[in-house]
């Protein structure tokens, strides 16, 4: 990231492929991520498969964003496998199982697929990525629900062994652009997990969206790295920011106690230990 200057955004294409968004909340991290990914693709492709989480951003009739989305649901055997590149984007909820199955099938067929999994920050809605003791949506457990009650979806995606695996966050747009370009160039199945800040779900101000994403990454709750050809490379330094900085950005949620803060810190440390950084 150091080699970028402040004028790099002007090098990106000015064409707006992602022109919808009237149905997303103010400060939506998912809309931000999809727009940055669309700019990184630079007319290299579209989203033939955009399901669940990206549906609201396609807009409503008759103003839907058809040039970018096709609105197909994820399927285990892609019907367009003869194409050179398949780009799919979906959330971590009901589409998670289909997405991972799709990823494993195209790996067997040696088809190039770039799969963007949009991780919502709030994570309080009922879906397939949660454990059985997760609270119901009308009684969220607060900030700990995102980390205590979630399955390790990234580990499940790593188990598929894609050719390129990375985690990203729209709070670091240049990092997301770099990883999207690398996924498009790898020539095989690629998985990018994107942490999307959610001001509505976490009840903080929309302007804090980027700061929340940065603090989650730098505190180690969602470390950014890329895994390519067996080498794990750290993208953003994590650890200098304490977990409490992330908790302070979310004032409306129940404050975790000392025991829960210890649990959050151990979760962040465990995240960093599970990533075998080899090349920094």
């Amino acid at each position: 990231m150091d080699r970028y200057s402040v004028f790099v955004p002007r090098l990106l294409p000015e064409a707006e492929d992602f022109v919808a968004g009237l149905r997303s909340c103010p400060g939506c991290g998912q809309a931000m991520a999809v727009r940055i990914i669309a700019k990184a693709m630079a007319n290299a492709g579209r989203f033939p498969y955009g399901a669940t989480a990206v549906d609201p951003h396609a807009g409503g009739l008759p103003y839907e964003n058809w040039p970018l989305f096709d609105g197909k649901t994820l399927e285990p055997a892609p019907a367009i496998s003869k194409q050179n590149k398949i780009i799919a984007a979906a959330g971590e909820s009901s589409a998670l199982q289909q997405g991972l199955e799709m990823l494993s099938v195209v790996r067997r067929d040696k088809t190039a697929l770039v799969y963007f999994c949009l991780f919502n920050e709030s994570g309080v809605e009922r879906h397939a990525g949660q454990k059985k003791d997760c609270p119901m949506p009308d009684a969220p457990a607060g900030i700990l629900a995102r980390f205590r009650h979630m399955k390790d979806c990234l580990a499940r995606a790593r188990a598929v062994k894609p050719a390129y695996f990375a985690t990203a966050c729209p709070a670091y747009p240049f990092d997301l652009i770099e990883k999207t370009a690398a996924a498009l160039a790898c020539g095989g199945p690629a998985f990018i997990g994107v942490l999307c800040p959610c001001p509505t779900g976490c009840l903080y101000d929309a302007a804090v969206s980027i700061a929340a994403g940065k603090s989650a990454v730098e505190a180690g709750l969602f470390p950014l790295y890329e895994l390519r050809q067996g080498r794990c490379k750290k993208s953003i330094d994590a650890g200098p920011v304490p977990v409490g900085a992330y908790v302070q950005l979310q004032p409306a949620l129940p404050k975790p106690g000392a025991k829960e803060m210890t649990e959050l810190e151990s979760f962040a440390g465990q995240n960093l230990q599970e990533c075998p950084f080899q090349d920094n």
């Binding site: 931000m32 727009r35 302007a207 980027i210 700061a211």
Partner: protein, 117 residues
């Protein structure tokens, strides 16, 4: 053959929005069905200080609604029909050139068109 209810609704909305909006919808663009006057529920809107702006484009990149576009001189401005007033552009501005100004409240009218205090 009669079209589906969604097609009929789309046609009605397109007719209501006018031919220009129909063209934009066909080209993939998006316009507010209520017109170009902006959102009535928006509380704040970005205002640029052109003396502090050095045209880096970070606000344009970070906007989640594609509501910021460059003008002819290289500066950036917001599109009222898309901006939701989230304030992310003011947060990411490197030189504090953007401030969030309060939106002017639309005139409230009574049942017979008289203004209500």
């Amino acid at each position: 053959m009669k079209g589906s209810i969604f097609v009929d609704k789309a046609n009605k909305l397109s007719v209501k929005a006018g031919p220009q909006s129909r063209l934009r919808a066909a080209a993939g663009g998006m316009t507010c069905p209520a017109g170009e006057t902006g959102f009535a529920w928006r509380e704040k809107r970005p205002a640029w200080d052109l003396q502090r702006c050095f045209k880096c484009g970070m606000c344009w990149l970070a906007c989640p609604d594609s509501a910021i576009a460059p003008d002819g001189q290289g500066y950036y401005a917001s599109l009222d029909s898309r901006c939701k007033g989230c304030g992310i552009c003011a947060t990411v501005c490197l030189n504090d050139a953007i401030t969030m100004a309060p939106e002017q409240a639309p005139p409230v009218k009574g049942k017979r068109g008289s203004k209500v205090a």
